[in-house]
Subunit: 356 residues, 3 copies
């Protein structure tokens, strides 16, 4: 394989029908400057775009990149429309970044999908599959599973006994649903997600800790997304529930009995301890930890790496360890570093006071 | 599938023989009030229990839920025995929550298990399997593996060459044992656990860092549990050892040469750096980090998100970053937030002192 | 299975040709004291070494272990050459630990490897495999994949459509490459690694957050290592790139558009947010978090659990939350704990000042 062929194959978004500069301008309502017939079939940043790719210039600091870009077509803001550079065509548009995002589906390479059950997949006789379901190689679907229409179960995925999946659920490669998980419509589980494990609950006994049997449910409502290698435990007696539209990033841990509301964003490596309540519209920054049995009020925002040891009121932004209202946390941190210069004189001052 | 059928299927603990209120009362030694013949076959919290489910009322704050509950039978404490509500039967018992937990095994749906090797599992000719072993679909058991009686190897699990498993070990779906891991009796490995990877050790060389071959062992003693997607590396020259009865939650990282004692609890997302020693009975809160080569004394307790950069004496509770004895950590945090209000007057005061 | 046989099987490094003490001494240029014909075939620490194993004594604090060791041969430093103890042979060498590491490849048990495609592996007709490639049981290789010479694809690994792997790449069991990932020569992906997921990017819409299609690449340059269960997302428009020789430990999260330079070390459970730039030779301690769009300058070092919210200049060491230059962070922490004793007298002092 030559580096030539590699480079050709590597283009972001390659693989779709090319589109002319004129057609791009028409689609986003932009003003075309240059050759209307330039063809693009992919998207790339200015610094690595090739002549057959579309790029964008939205900030003045990237003008030097624009000067040297090899991109065929560049979306530019009105303020930067006259920047020096030589793409085949430039298209002036109000918000070049937003315009580009609106074009992305056209350039996105989907994964090939073959409807039907791969001959190596194992589907229990008692499982019920809807219409147009895809089950990829080596997937295992256990007893009494229900899978709705248009679901796509990836290679090596395991769907435990008694699970119920709604319509258009996507389970990526090697994700595992433990038994008895309820999954709503259009849920997306990324590779390696583990959903429905019996939670971390033990009873002390003379012969050591004994697992408490978990009979609570694990429910992912519609449009939930669970990131790669994230783990969500089922409830002990109560349920673990992830509300509709909530998006969970990679490597997140959600313990038993946690209830998360609708439309929350849980960034990577967050941990939520048992029985916490996260209300609607909450955002939790990466690596933050939420203590057990706490309530995070609706639309609250928790900073990255925050350690939350108490309830957070609705709408507030908290950060730090232990987490406090963000303004207080910043003031505390600022004071600390001003203190470092004062501590010795203060100690002297107080020592003098003691002596007097 | 109607929402009716979904709801019926979703009941926690469904699927076992129903039991009467009278039989429940007899089993837990409680006093029955109401209809002795009410049948329950599942467990649920008051707010979502159905007439065929058992629930409990242990705190006054849930009395409003009790009023509206549809539960068939409710365990109640003596103090709350006369609360207004209309379950078919109530059973007065000293500790309703404990009583309920004692009943859970009766309501817990086990996973179906077929003893024997699934035809799609691949078991090396040199592997030795005990009696009554289950090997599920697509599991792969490499050369020279020994598996004790009553073990259960889940779908897609991989058991590396030379591993030794005791009796009644449970390896969940998609867990991977790297080669040469020693696993004691009754160990439970959850889905996606990775045990025995060669640790993160490199030698600097002119051509870049070179991996140090790891020849130390990775030993999980009896009754150890390893959570979903947790990772335990094998030793470099020394061994990595997890002591008997120690329970490890999800997404935990344990580096090479770590030795953990007996009956420890390691909560989710904890990281333990190389060659650390964790003695018996230690508890480590979620997301805490233990530095390399440190010793955490027996029965010590480490707070959630703590960053431990020094040895911790036996029996002590440490928290914060950098971790200190918990009382000191709390005092430091309290002082910091009182300081935020004082810092400006203090700076003024010292400036005046300088001028005088 | 008797405990005798277990113990024999458990020796670290067992399974290779034994080597005499004389040959060891010759290989490392050491001075032999004792029986030149003692045979060793494994490596172990002093306290658990058997007569057929090699060990080392590098620090005075291990002399008591040396006294009692059963090791056949022990490498000792000149200063400790005369320590009391009775191994069959001792070999005096400048740096016993380094000498031992140099011998490790001789004692390291490799995994058995069968070149060729296992009959249960699924390789798309359009995939191109190089010479001497191993594809283990149940691996799945999707359409248009290119795999270079001498690659080894482990059991249950999934290689997504359009991926390109260089030469001598090792993909361990159950690792997943999403579609269109570019992997350089000699890359090592550990078990459960998830590389190339579409990143965590959403557009707010009236019907809730909609995924932004990701068309950026995910590139692992040559000699990169990715730890067990670590996750690396592909770029949105820009690329995610991991530079040559960079080593990533277990359970690390790397978000979309992150660019990591050459020869970096990223320790376990680190999280790097979107579009961060990590320059060459950077070291990031365990559980640290790097905020989005930041730059960590070349050869900088970030402490364990640090929370980095701003750019870090080249060559500097930063730590703490929020991260500051390490010296400042230490001074702040020290001041805080001295403050805890002063805060009440200071409050009194200022109150008096207010009254006057």
């Amino acid at each position: 394989m030559t580096s030539e062929s590699l480079s050709a194959r590597r283009d972001g978004g390659d693989g779709h029908q090319p589109i002319t500069a004129a057609a791009v301008a028409a689609e986003i309502g932009g003003r075309l400057i240059g050759d209307p017939d330039v063809l693009v079939r992919g998207v790339a940043p200015l610094d690595r775009a090739e002549p057959y790719e579309l790029s964008f210039l939205a900030h003045a600091r990237y003008v030097p990149w624009f000067e040297r870009t090899r991109a065929g077509v560049v979306l530019v803001s009105a303020a930067l429309a006259d920047s020096v550079g030589a793409p085949g065509a430039r298209i002036v548009v109000d918000r070049p970044m937003d315009a580009l995002v609106s074009l992305l589906p056209r350039f996105h390479r989907g994964e090939p999908r073959a409807v039907g059950v791969h001959p190596t997949a194992i589907v229990a006789a008692s499982a019920r599959l809807g219409e147009r379901v895809t089950v990829d190689a080596y997937a295992v679907i256990h007893d009494d599973v229900t899978i709705g229409d248009d679901c796509w179960i990836g290679a090596h995925a395991v769907i435990g006994a008694g699970c119920s999946l709604g319509r258009s659920v996507r389970v990526q490669s090697a994700a595992v649903l433990y038994p008895f998980v309820d999954v709503g419509d259009r849920v997306l589980l990324h590779s390696g997600a583990r959903v429905g494990r019996e939670g971390f609950g033990f009873l002390p006994t003379k012969s050591g800790p004994q697992r408490i049997p978990h009979v609570g449910r694990c429910v992912l409502e519609q449009d939930v997304e669970v990131g790669a290698n994230s783990c969500i435990d089922r409830g002990s007696i109560d349920d673990t529930i992830i509300g509709a539209g909530t998006k969970i990033d990679n490597l997140v841990h959600i313990a038993h009995n946690v209830r998360i509301g609708r439309m929350c964003f849980i960034i990577a490596q967050v941990g939520i301890a048992g029985s916490a309540r996260i209300e609607d519209g909450v955002q939790i920054g990466g690596q933050a930890g939420i203590g057990g049995h706490l309530t995070i009020g609706s639309r609250a925002s928790i900073g990255g790496q925050a350690g939350v040891f108490g309830d957070v009121p609705s709408g507030e932004t908290w950060s730090g360890y232990p987490a406090r209202p963000h303004k207080d946390a910043l003031r505390g941190q600022a004071a600390l570093f001003r203190l470092a210069r004062l501590i010795r004189p203060l100690e002297k001052l107080l020592a003098r006071g003691d002596e007097s």
